[in-house]
Symmetry: C2
């Protein structure tokens, strides 16, 4: 599979162009700006954090609750991490935690009604912020960007990090 082989210099293995690095830096910059902005607004206006929002969002999609392990896999974070975030949500009364009736090792986490309300509020604000941040792009450009990010996703999936054979 050789869609577009990287063009290399004759010397020392450095790529001839800086396209990739510039692209990565711009991608990182855009994401960082958006993420910091969302984080800041959550903190300032709702006394909330992005990781807690992520957990609430995952639980909102699972009315019957999720195990800690399922949460960890869904959010792509370590299980130890989930433990801390869920404990904070427990203190705030936004989630309930029960031991699974079928597996004594597993805990099942569930939104409380307060958690549902809280998430609904956060979610609406979050949606509006994203819309506003992207409002300066035409729908055509947004869709084109979405598609190209799909191509990037594929490229990332193809890169295994192995040394060249």
């Amino acid at each position: 599979m050789t869609g577009a082989p990287a063009i290399r210099e004759k010397h020392d293995g450095a790529l001839a162009d800086r396209t990739s690095i510039r692209l990565w830096l711009r991608l990182l910059s855009c994401t960082t700006v958006m993420e910091k902005r969302i984080r800041r607004r959550f903190a300032d206006r709702y006394d909330a954090t992005l990781p807690r929002f992520d957990v609430l969002a995952a639980l909102d999609r699972a009315p019957d609750g999720m195990t800690m392990g399922a949460l960890s896999r869904a959010l792509l974070v370590s299980s130890g991490n989930v433990t801390g975030v869920v404990q904070a949500l427990l203190r705030d009364g936004y989630v309930l935690m029960t031991t699974s009736p079928t597996d004594g090792r597993a805990s099942i986490v569930r939104l409380t009604p307060e958690g549902q309300d809280h998430f609904a509020e956060l979610s609406e604000a979050h949606h509006e912020w994203i819309d506003a941040m992207l409002a300066g792009m035409s729908r055509h450009d947004r869709e084109a960007l979405y598609e190209l990010l799909g191509a990037l996703k594929l490229s990332l999936a193809a890169d295994t990090g192995e040394e060249k054979p």
Copy 2:
């Protein structure tokens, strides 16, 4: 400037489409995957971290050194944060810190020769990793993605976070 005004529902101000949210989630996903991969490889193969690499990169561009404040502004992180990262680099012998001769409040941080060598090694690996991760995209697509991210950058700059007037 009205490239393509957002299409809104008649009711409750919610946008009619989910283009923006889907785009944001995909953007975040791609960046997170790349960032975690780089972070992991730095840790596994070089006993380094991404924040330290960022500081080294900024200092590498400033042969005469930078103040802590300049570093903080260049990297878009808090000054307290820079303090911690620079202290770690000091312990490793990669940077030197001196009080500014013209301003007793300011510290000037500079790479040591070891720091320069270390950064050169990290930088080359970093470059190769990025190239490999993006190698699955055609040059045309990479450039198109770069341009669209430029449009996103502009859109972000236009969003002030103010309430609608």
